[in-house]
């Protein structure tokens, strides 16, 4: 089973490479270099903060878009191209197939994240600025955020088309960052029903703000390791729920 899992993961990574995902890193590098040159010219005494925000923000935007694109199209594309028949005819369970494909996706995103981080931190060091621990935490926790987004994309992709999956996953991404606002806004309502509805939506949506450590990087605030571990565990847990849902739906699908 481990062998099949490894093969599926590496296949996913190879497919992403064939799709020229490395271009993303090149575009990111170019964008980062250009923007930081501009930022140096137009900023006063907050250069370190702006540099950190631009680098981590660009990394987040690029990789989230890529995660949505990769995850929402993967299963539906296999079904549309009918390449799924090649897999289901082999002694590989559908659950293993889903988990293997997600692992391939996450490996691709991890490699890109590492490459972007190397570019970003090299640039920070070249400007003579310190590379801080909160910046490393923010970059690391971005991967957990990508895991959650990818798992939502996978769950959607198990029963919907690529377009629908991408639109819903993008919506979940934004709503996930605003879930705390939904909670507090609903709490202000005089209607008990609205209050419970708001709370329900809050717990249903992934709390992505909890995985966003970029503000701490801006202010160079170190979060206690326990809190980071709890947030990461929450992200992994949420992804686990989404993958399990994807497995349930995908296992019942009839491809005839």
């Amino acid at each position: 089973m481990i062998r099949e899992f490894g093969a599926l993961t590496l296949n996913g990574f190879r497919e992403a490479r064939r799709n020229r995902v490395s271009v993303v890193v090149a575009v990111f590098t170019l964008g980062l270099l250009l923007s930081s040159t501009l930022v140096t010219d137009v900023t006063v005494y907050t250069f370190q903060r702006v540099m950190s925000d631009v680098g981590l923000g660009a990394m987040c935007l690029t990789l989230v878009l890529l995660a949505i694109f990769l995850s929402s199209g993967l299963l539906s594309r296999e079904i549309e191209r009918r390449t799924i028949f090649l897999v289901v005819s082999k002694p590989v369970s559908r659950a293993l197939f889903i988990v293997g494909r997600l692992a391939g996706n996450m490996l691709t995103l991890a490699v890109l994240l590492v490459m972007m981080s190397v570019v970003f931190f090299t640039q920070v060091a070249l400007y003579g600025l310190p590379v801080t621990a909160p910046q490393l935490v923010a970059a690391g926790m971005l991967w957990v955020e990508l895991l959650v987004i990818s798992s939502v994309g996978f769950a959607m992709s198990s029963f919907a088309s690529q377009l629908v999956s991408a639109v819903v996953t993008t919506g979940v991404y934004f709503a996930g960052h605003l879930s705390a606002d939904i909670y507090s806004l609903a709490g202000r309502s005089s209607s008990v029903f609205i209050q419970w509805l708001g709370k329900g939506i809050y717990y249903l949506l992934p709390n992505l703000a909890r995985l966003n450590f970029r503000p701490q990087a801006s202010y160079e605030l170190m979060t206690p390791a326990v809190d980071i571990a709890k947030s990461a565990a929450y992200g992994v847990g949420y992804a686990g729920v989404m993958v399990a849902l994807a497995v349930f739906v995908f296992s019942r699908r009839d491809f005839k």
Binding site: V42, R49, D53
Partner: protein, 297 residues
Amino acid sequence: MISAAAMSSRLIWSAVFAVSIVLCVALAAPPMRPAYQGHTPPLLPRLEVVRALGAPIHHLVTDYYWIQTIQAVGKAKTPAEHRDIFDYANMVTDLDPRFRQVYVFAGVSIAYPLRGRWLNAEESTRLLEKGLQHFPDYVYLRIMLAYNLSTFHRQYERAAKIVEEASRMPEAPPYLAGLATRLHAQAGNFDAGLEFARSLAESADEPETRELFERRVKELELERELSQVDAAVQRYLQRVGSLPPGVEALVRAGDLSHVPEDPLGGDIEVDATGRSYSTAQQKRLTDFARANMEASP
């Protein structure tokens, strides 16, 4: 062998491509600036929209408007353009109230002097007050706010209170405590000033500091006497129509109950403009307050 139809299609598309390229190049132009129709304030998006759409990259969006604030400061020439700085800075600090640098950077740039008057002072003070809500322990911000309150709004009592609180903070510069006592005097709040100066004198570790605040107590007592003489001069002037020849004339006329004593050992007199002074002091305490605020960093 390429067929004639394919050949003609290729020719047509080559022509379309060439014409399109020529059009693009010919019509390419830098961004058009609208004709000048007076000043238009910055068209900023609604805060809720920016918050919702920019939630995942909140700090990147905040930094964008921070850079806009810096640009607004750089190009501001007219009072209205200086007023625009407030809109940008307000947006940045609404997005990220903990962005400390914005309050001080924009706070000093918003007010605009015009023919002896300060314009946009309200906005400048509003931004600094907003900063104080989030950074009550930021000494520099307190000094700036106290400057605005005393210079622009003549609210010496509030300014004195803000500076007095700041002077008790660990990183406060030593001159702040003295400045607070002067601002209390400027506000006419002698009891508060005296109480503060006495407590400073009592708690001072070094003899020089103690001596300084003991003198400040005397200066405040003198200022209280001088303000009473000033009030008596005004009463005399209104009744008689001319300035009194001296302090004794005020006592004789019943405007003062007794000849005031100078705690610094000098004599209290009235100058040609009707303002009282002490021979032991070059300048009155209240004359220093504003000059000191302007000299502060």
